[in-house]
């Protein structure tokens, strides 16, 4: 009799254990699904953030490029145009020397900017809040 009781007790304990395992398994499945969903959501947000960062970095380069263009090109361009204008007034052949130097400055800038496509760009502050591409180090 005692042995039969012991057998029943063990059987009940086994059933409880099995039920407990089954319950935990179901819980862990739900937890795993929850984790997968969370990872997916975080991955999507990370991708969005990376895209935003890339977009913002491209805009930064574009803005700096515009500042660089304005700053670096306008002076030699003004000198070149001014020299031509002066030549029409005084026909002084020396105006062409200055014109040539200005055009060479522009040519050199174009070459430096061409190099940008092959290398990483670096920035320098143009004003406190405005950056330009650093062409000086090239």
């Amino acid at each position: 009799m005692e042995r039969k009781n012991l057998k029943n007790k063990t059987k009940n304990e086994l059933i409880e254990l099995l039920l407990s395992i089954e319950e935990k398994y179901a819980d862990s499945n739900a937890y795993a699904a929850e984790l997968v969903s969370e990872i997916h959501e975080k991955n999507t947000k990370l991708n969005e953030a990376q895209n935003e960062l890339l977009k913002s970095e491209r805009l930064r380069v574009l803005n700096s490029m515009i500042v660089t263009y304005n700053h670096e090109f306008r002076n030699p361009l003004a000198i070149a145009m001014g020299s031509l204008e002066l030549y029409t007034k005084d026909k002084n052949i020396k105006r062409f020397e200055i014109l040539q130097i200005s055009l060479q400055r522009i040519e050199s800038l174009v070459e430096k900017i061409d190099e940008l496509a092959k290398n990483d760009v670096s920035f320098v502050n143009y004003t406190d809040h405005v950056e330009m591409i650093d062409l000086g180090k090239r």
């Binding site: 306008r74 002076n75 003004a78 000198i79 020299s83 002066l86 005084d90 200005s102 143009y126």
Partner: protein, 127 residues
């Protein structure tokens, strides 16, 4: 347009451009003083009788805006000062708030610049 005996101070650290502007203004009938930086420009302004200033904005040490502020601090109404800039550090509205009479972008139309400066000087003189 009366521009004779009026003296204009040209300020630009781009020497060739300063010389071009000097020539253009001389052709327009002005006496011309020039400086290649803001410091020298301010000293020339203090020691000469200047009727108008045309200055580059971006120059090492003393910028065109600094020069404008120094001059206008002493006399807000005279002389007229024109800014000329390669890159728009400021727009025309902001330049006028500082007391500038005008803002020109490089490459400027020199004839228009000379005309504006002459008109501005005449307006001041007729006040």
């Amino acid at each position: 347009m009366q521009t004779s005996k009026r003296t204009i101070l040209i300020v630009d650290d781009e020497v060739d451009l300063a010389e071009i502007m000097c020539f253009i203004f001389e052709q327009g009938g002005f006496n011309v003083e020039y400086a290649y930086n803001g410091d020298t420009a301010y000293n020339k302004f203090k020691s000469s009788k200047i009727d108008a200033v045309v200055t580059d904005v971006r120059m090492p040490k003393v910028s065109g805006i600094d020069l404008l502020k120094h001059i206008k601090k002493e006399n807000p109404s005279y002389p007229p000062i024109f800014l000329i800039t390669g890159f728009s550090d400021i727009n025309e509205e902001e330049a006028k708030k500082y007391g500038a009479s005008g803002l020109f972008k490089k490459p400027a139309k020199f004839d228009l610049l000379v005309e504006k400066v002459a008109n501005e000087i005449n307006q001041y003189k007729n006040k």
